[in-house]
Symmetry: C2
Subunit: 164 residues, 2 copies
């Protein structure tokens, strides 16, 4: 990664989707609210007491996450005071990002295995480290990656299409 085509890299980074992702999830409490959602929190007061976040900020962040389509806001029919916030598919799709970030924190910041740990429900064995992989599952490291323009990409089985 990097080297001969250094100059063009400046150009390419322009339409990287990272800024778009960060606009949706880059604010201070967004990821912690998301984690709450993954862990089964659904109501305003739950988030508030669990995260210790200020009420106005929480209201603002929930509204933004709903606006971005990451959470869905729906009034409870059986108790019309209550509002349920639930993850959308778009929200669930952030799971790999969140796990990767958590694993990084575990390895490099807290430096403890941090029980309880996420396990595969089928065999109760811990999940693997989230890695960057080639199309065939080989784990790729820093030296194994290259930026490529359309014409340079081997185009027989483009994984990207499958996710669309």
């Amino acid at each position: 990664m990097g080297g001969a085509i250094r100059e063009s890299l400046r150009e390419l980074a322009k339409d990287c989707s990272l800024p778009a992702a960060l606009e949706a999830m880059g604010e201070r409490w967004s990821f912690l609210i998301l984690r709450g959602s993954f862990n089964g929190l659904n109501h305003f007061e739950e988030f508030q007491s669990e995260l210790g976040i200020a009420r106005n900020i929480l209201a603002n962040r929930l509204a933004r996450l709903v606006d971005k389509g990451i959470l869905e806001r729906r009034p409870c029919p059986e108790d019309r005071r209550k509002i349920e916030y639930r993850l959308t598919d778009k929200g669930y799709a952030l799971l790999p990002t969140m796990i990767a970030l958590r694993q990084w924190g575990e390895r490099w910041e807290t430096c403890v295995p941090a029980f309880p740990v996420l396990v595969d429900a089928r065999d109760r064995r811990p999940i693997a480290q989230v890695t960057v992989q080639a199309h065939d599952g080989r784990v790729l490291h820093k030296g194994d990656l290259l930026w490529a323009l359309p014409e340079d990409v081997a185009d027989d089985v483009p994984e990207m299409r499958a996710a669309e």
Copy 2:
């Protein structure tokens, strides 16, 4: 994920390492600076002109990333005006997180394949989607995950140890 042990989930989230990770990487420009580093930016002026970030904020963020051990700051011997900022191993370890976030943005925000794309240097085929996987490589989805305490974990081949 979630269900019978709902109540205990509140407790468990306490020593999750996500907050620790966010303290290091959760600020506004941190991920974009990191992306710059992955893309070969090394100097203050490069980051500044590339990202369009205010100089004081950039100085502050670079200092923090160095402080957290994500970047390494070293004066250039051949031009002593220049400072090089380089990724440490800890910084490189954020690659899966960054790719996952970028892929999410590509799929759900910008909604375009966004060339140029990252490919495996060996065969120039696009990298796979970053996923959460079981120890044997099976892709896990939302229903397949469970929080487990030490005693509930099948403990024959704990992947986590390998990463330490």
